[in-house]
Amino acid sequence: MADSNVATRSRSSLRAAARLSRRDAINLLVVAGGVLFVLLALPSLLTPYWVVTSTSAVTFMIVALGLGLLVGRVGMISLGQGAVLALGAWVGARLLFATALPYPIVLVMTGLITMVLGTMIGLPALRVSGLYLALVTLMLAGAITVVLVDTNFPNGGSGFLGYADQSTGTPPSIRRPSIAESDPAFFRYVVIVALLMFLLALWHIRGKPGRAWAAIRQSEPAALAAGVNVTVYKMWAFALASFVTGIAGALLGSASHVLYAYTFPTSQSIVLFAVVLMGGVYTLFGAVIAGVLLQVIPGAFTVWGIPSEWATILFGVGVLQVLTTAPAGIAHQLPSDLARLGRFLFGVARRRIPAGGRAP
């Protein structure tokens, strides 16, 4: 009898948990409010310069999302994501020049092709981990950058590489979706794509792959003993990360209309990793922060007349700060600091206006 009571209790509480918990509901409201604000109000509040910068910020949120999945969920450190982004940009540009297919279809195709390529970059993860995986993926990224410098990005030329040497005149531009030709419209388009990518990631994290990744991150032998095919799930993570990063690459090409190899230096992968750590790898919100940091800070530096590369120094200090004081990143630090600030202000207010009219 007592046993069945326990069972009923645990079953009903589980059902309650399966519905929306209060915390989830609040999170959902905040996110929905934020997305609506960004979609409807933000483009009209910003100058054209900041609309373009915000578009890159949102694009890099997708990149940070992919890297965050690898590092935070599975515990695999890849320093090749910058190169995967470049691959995505190349594939996206090539497809956009070569075909007249609807833009969303090109995006998905780019994602799938980059997924295959990016998963190959992830193959060393089956043999090495930690620092060595980071090193191997960084060397692969370096190799890809070297090849890209030689082949250049497609600019409407013919042949497989799609590059034509045009020393005169403006090169044909990489197209945008027909419904989002202007900068503000394209910004909104990118926000919606990013939202879909975050939902795709969330769906994975909350489901069977997310649980398998959590098991792998905690201990590979224990994951194997629990029946997790570690090889498959590691590759699955690389595939998902490469898919979203490839789509981000395609968006990047359309955003700037023209791509240059020098905008994808190998070092970008390292900065990307540092900033993703800063934002926080254990929550999806961390990827949002990382995207903002990656683009908005250099953007602001440019406005203030400071060389934008100096942001790297700030990121270096920032990543040290985060690693020493808040390993879960700003995504974790910010809400808890805000809560502390709130409690402090509340406490000050209470002392100023004591309840019952008498000072304690």
């Binding site: 645990s10 589980l14 649980r211 959590a214 194997l224 003993a225």
Partner: protein, 238 residues
């Protein structure tokens, strides 16, 4: 029933298991021995983490060693580790469901079976609680729940009571004793706590330097002179 024949493991010049031959019929069986005797190596062979040099393991008529390691969970092999392996960032429910979804086809009865396993080990809190927030005893019980979910056939428990105070070991002991009756699985228990082994195991085998030096009913084995010598390090009498 599990039949181990001439199982030998070599790491370079070390032989952690030397022609281990042993049969466990059913119920909860103990495997004891001093540190370094080869108990965990034996579990690692069964899990597929260590490839034996020679020998065979047949469990319920099937050749266990020919299966890929991650497939063994689907076959019905479960184990706990000396160090805790319950996944901290997942909830109790997710921890157990995770094993179920990778080891058993069909999701129709998943919720029921997972909750039944949680209930069986006596975890009466909210199954949605994150494991990282639980105490040592409850985390151990989550591991045991992971080991009994989804029709296990062979359950390996590697020092499940390590670090637990006596009164908590007692509850764990009653759970371990109930596993064969509840699931039909054969349980192999490795532990240094002799009172736990005596309480749980009908039969016990003793390993020393990779050699089975005794096996049989637990009470007799624990009285065996060779076993006393292995544990207490008495001088060779012969």
């Amino acid at each position: 029933m599990i039949e181990i024949k001439d199982l030998t493991v070599r790491f370079g010049g070390v032989t952690p298991l030397a022609e281990m031959t042993l049969t466990f019929e059913s119920g909860t069986c103990g495997l004891i021995g001093p540190n370094g005797a080869g108990k965990t190596t034996f579990f690692n062979v069964l899990s597929g983490f260590v490839k034996p040099h020679a020998g065979s393991v047949r469990a319920f008529g099937e050749d266990l060693l020919s299966m890929p390691h991650f497939r063994r969970a689907r076959w019905g092999l479960r184990r706990t580790f000396q160090t805790e392996q319950a996944i901290e960032e997942l909830s109790i429910y997710e921890n157990v469901a995770m094993v179920h979804e990778h080891s058993k086809r069909g999701r129709a009865a998943r919720r029921e079976e997972v909750l039944a396993a949680i209930e069986f080990v006596g975890l009466d809190g909210d199954p949605a609680t994150r494991v990282g927030t639980l105490g040592a005893r409850d985390r151990r019980l989550v591991e045991v729940a992971r080991a009994v979910v989804g029709e296990p056939r062979l359950v390996l428990l590697d020092e499940p009571a390590a670090g637990l105070p006596d009164e908590e070991t007692e509850h764990l002991s009653s759970v371990i004793r109930a596993i064969p009756g509840h699931t039909g699985a054969l349980v192999i228990l490795v532990d240094h706590d002799m009172s736990l082994v005596s309480a749980c195991c009908g039969v016990t085998a003793v390993l020393d330097f990779g050699i089975v030096i005794a096996s049989g009913p637990t009470a007799e084995v624990l009285r065996d002179a060779n076993v006393m010598r292995a544990y207490l390090g008495t001088e060779e009498l012969v």
